[in-house]
C-alpha cells in the first residue's frame, strides 16, 4: 500500500488552472463574434446604445441603399470561390496522383516546393507579386485577375487533404482494375475516384472557404469597380462600423459555421465508413 501512496499523490495528467485558461481562450475567441451577432439585432441607429430587438438591419442588407452593391459583391465572391475551388481541386487531384502514385522521380522535392509556395509566402508579398505581374503583362485588373489569383493560392490548400487521403489508399485497387483491362482513365474514374472522393471534397471545401476569406490579395488586384464581399466590407468599415455591416457579417459568419459543420460531419461519416471497411 505504501508503494502506491506517492504515485497516487496526484493525477499526473491534470494541471490546475488549465481548464480556466481553456475557458479564457474560448471566451476571447467567441466574445467578439457573439457581441457583433447580438448587436446586429439592435433596433437603433447608434451602434453604442441598445434599442430593443429588431431585424431591420437584415432587411436593410437585402433592400437598403447599398443592397445592390452587396448583392453584386456576394455574387462575385461566391462565383469566384466556386470556380477557383473547382479548378484548383481538379489540378490538385491530378498533381496528387502524380506525386503520390508517380514513383520516385527527379525533381520530386522541387515539385513539393513549387506546390507549397503559395502557403509559405506571406499573403502581402503574394499580393504585390501578382499586382506587379499583371501590370507588367498588361492584363486589365478585374474579375479575371481575381479568379486567376484565387485558383493559384487555393492549389496547396486543395492538394493537402487530397494527397493525405491518397496516401492512405492501397494501390492494389488500381492494380486490380488494370488487371481487368480498365484503361487509365477508367481506373481513375470508376476505382480510384470513388475512394478518393472524401479527400477531394474536403480539399474543395477548404479551397472554397480560403477563397471566400481572402481579402489582402483580392484588394491588391481587384482593379476599379469590382468588389468581393470582404473588400466591400473593408471599404465600408473604413467609414465606421455601421449596423448593416454587423448584420452582413453575421450572415457571412453563419454561412462559414454552416460550411465547417458540414465538412466536420462529412469527415465523421467518412471515418465511420473507413472503420466499417476495415472490419470487412
Amino acid at each position: 500500500m505504501d508503494r502506491y501512496a506517492y504515485s497516487k499523490r496526484f493525477d499526473v495528467k491534470r494541471y490546475p488552472g488549465f481548464l480556466l485558461i481553456t475557458m479564457v481562450c474560448l471566451l476571447i475567441l467567441y466574445a467578439p463574434l457573439l457581441v457583433v451577432m447580438v448587436y446586429s439585432f439592435n433596433d437603433s441607429l447608434s451602434i453604442t446604445k441598445w434599442g430593443g430587438f429588431s431585424l431591420r438591419w437584415y432587411v436593410d442588407v437585402f433592400t437598403g441603399l447599398e443592397a445592390e452593391k452587396y448583392k453584386r459583391a456576394a455574387w462575385n465572391s461566391l462565383s469566384i470561390a466556386l470556380m477557383a475551388a473547382t479548378v484548383s481541386t481538379a489540378m490538385a487531384t491530378a498533381a496528387a496522383i502524380g506525386m503520390v502514385r508517380g514513383g520516385q522521380f527527379k525533381g520530386k522535392s522541387l515539385s513539393f516546393g513549387l506546390i507549397s509556395i503559395p502557403i509559405m509566402v506571406p499573403e502581402i508579398v503574394t499580393a504585390v507579386a501578382m499586382l506587379i505581374f499583371f501590370s507588367t503583362i498588361g492584363l486589365t485588373l478585374g474579375y479575371g485577375s481575381i479568379l486567376i489569383a484565387h485558383i493559384v493560392f487555393c492549389i496547396p490548400f486543395a492538394y493537402l487533404p487530397i494527397a493525405a487521403r491518397l496516401q492512405g489508399i492501397e494501390s492494389s485497387y488500381e492494380e486490380a482494375a488494370q488487371d481487368l483491362y480498365a484503361n487509365r482513365w477508367k481506373t481513375f474514374r470508376f476505382v480510384l475516384m470513388p475512394i478518393l472522393f472524401p479527400g477531394m471534397l474536403s480539399g474543395f471545401l477548404l479551397a472554397f472557404i480560403i477563397s471566400l476569406d481572402d481579402f489582402i490579395i483580392t484588394n491588391f488586384i481587384k482593379g476599379a469597380g469590382v468588389e468581393t464581399l470582404p473588400t466591400a466590407i473593408f471599404g465600408a468599415v473604413k467609414q465606421g462600423i455601421k449596423p448593416n455591416i454587423m448584420a452582413l457579417s453575421t450572415l457571412m459568419l453563419l454561412f462559414s459555421v454552416l460550411m465547417v459543420s458540414l465538412s466536420y460531419i462529412i469527415g465523421r461519416t467518412d471515418r465511420s465508413v473507413d472503420s466499417k471497411s476495415n472490419k470487412d
Binding site: Y6, S7, F10, V12, K13, Y15, G17, F18, I21, T22, C25, L29, P32, L33, V35, V36, Y39, M91, A95, I97, M99, R101, G102, G103, L114, I115, I117, P118, M120, V121, P122, E123, I124, V125, V128, A129, M130, L131, I132, F133, V152, F153, I155, Y159, A164, E170, S171, E175, D213, F215, I216, F220, I233, V237, I241, I245, S249, M252, V257, V260
Partner: protein, 304 residues
C-alpha cells in the same frame, strides 16, 4: 508535412503519365506565382515613376531609401534613416509578443483538450477551430467593435464598476497584439495538441514515482517531449503575424505601423513607390524564408 508525397505504396498505373498530371499545377504556380516573385526582385532594383509604376532603369534607390536619409533633395550628407528600420523592428517585436501570447494561452488549452476523453476531444477541437473559419476581416472588425472606446467591453467594465474611465485599448500595440493573437491562436493549439496526444503519459507517471513534483514533470519531461509541436505552432503564428495587414490596419493607429501596412501604402494610389514596396517585400520574404529554413534544419536534426 507528411501529406506531401513519399507514399509507401507505389503502383505503376499512373507513373507513365506523371508529368502530364503535374503539368497544369507546375505551369499555373510557375507562371502566376514563381515568376511574379522573381519580378518583385527585379522591380526592387528599378527606378520609381511618380504616378505609381516603374521606369526600367537599374537603381539601388529603393534599398538605399530604406537605410539612409539623404535629405529632401538627395544631396545632403547621408545619415541612418530609422523610420523603416523601426517599422521592421516593431513588426518583429509585435509578432514575437503575439507568438508568446499564443503559446501562453495555447499550450494549456491544447494540453487540456488532449487529456480529455476521446469522445469529447473532437468537440473541443471543433470549438477551437470554428472561429478560424470565420472570415478574418469579420473577426478583426468584431474585435475592433468590442474593444473600441465606447464599445461593449468598456460599457460592461464601467457598468460593473471595475473601471472609472474607459480603457483606451484601440489604436495601441496591445490592440494589435490582441488582434494577431485572435487571428492565429488555432495555429498554435493544433500542432501542440497533436504532440500532446502522442505523448506517452507513463513518462509522467515515472517522473512522479521518482518524487518529481507536478511542475517539475511539466518542465523537465512534458515540455521537452512535445518541443516539435511547440516549435511548429510558434512558426505558424510568427510567420503570418510578421506580414499581417488587417490587425495593424484596423486595430492599430499611426504608432503601430507594421511591414504589411508599409508595403500596402506603396502600391495604393499615385503616391506609392513600387520599387520601394518591392524592396520591402523582398526583405519580408527573406525574413520568412530564414525562419522556415531554421525550422527545416531543426526538423532534420530532430530526425537524426
Amino acid at each position: 508535412m507528411a501529406a506531401f508525397g513519399s507514399g509507401s505504396t507505389v503502383s505503376r498505373t499512373f507513373a507513365p503519365v506523371r508529368n502530364w498530371l503535374l503539368m497544369p499545377t507546375w505551369l499555373t504556380v510557375g507562371i502566376f506565382m514563381l515568376l511574379p516573385l522573381l519580378l518583385i526582385l527585379v522591380y526592387s532594383f528599378l527606378t520609381k515613376e511618380f504616378r505609381g509604376g516603374v521606369i526600367w532603369e537599374f537603381s539601388l534607390a529603393a534599398y538605399d531609401q530604406f537605410i539612409f536619409d539623404r535629405g529632401l533633395f538627395g544631396d545632403a550628407e547621408p545619415s541612418i534613416e530609422w523610420t523603416y528600420i523601426n517599422i521592421f523592428l516593431r513588426s518583429l517585436v509585435q509578432a514575437t509578443v503575439a507568438t508568446l501570447f499564443c503559446l501562453l494561452i495555447g499550450f494549456p488549452t491544447a494540453y487540456f483538450i488532449a487529456t480529455r476523453p476521446p469522445s469529447t476531444r473532437s468537440l473541443w477541437l471543433f470549438l477551437i477551430t470554428v472561429p478560424y473559419w470565420v472570415n478574418l476581416l469579420i473577426r478583426t472588425v468584431s474585435m475592433k467593435f468590442l474593444i473600441r472606446e465606447s464599445g461593449p467591453l468598456n460599457q460592461a467594465l464601467l457598468g460593473l464598476g471595475i473601471i472609472d474611465t474607459p480603457l483606451e485599448i484601440i489604436n495601441t500595440n496591445l490592440a494589435v497584439q490582441l488582434g494577431l493573437f485572435y487571428s492565429y491562436l488555432p495555429f498554435m493549439v493544433l500542432p501542440i495538441y497533436a504532440s500532446v496526444e502522442r505523448y506517452n503519459f507513463s513518462l509522467s507517471e515515472a517522473g512522479a514515482d521518482l518524487y518529481a513534483g507536478k511542475w517539475t514533470i511539466l518542465r523537465r519531461i512534458i515540455l521537452p517531449s512535445i518541443k516539435p509541436g511547440i516549435i511548429a505552432g510558434c512558426i505558424l503564428v510568427f510567420v503570418p503575424s510578421l506580414g499581417a495587414f488587417l490587425a495593424p490596419d484596423l486595430l492599430g493607429g499611426a504608432k503601430t505601423f507594421m511591414i504589411g501596412s508599409l508595403i500596402e501604402e506603396q502600391f495604393k494610389g499615385n503616391a506609392g513607390n513600387w520599387p520601394f514596396g518591392s524592396a520591402a517585400s523582398m526583405i519580408l520574404l527573406s525574413l520568412v524564408l530564414f525562419v522556415l529554413l531554421f525550422y527545416a534544419r531543426s526538423q532534420a536534426r530532430e530526425q537524426l
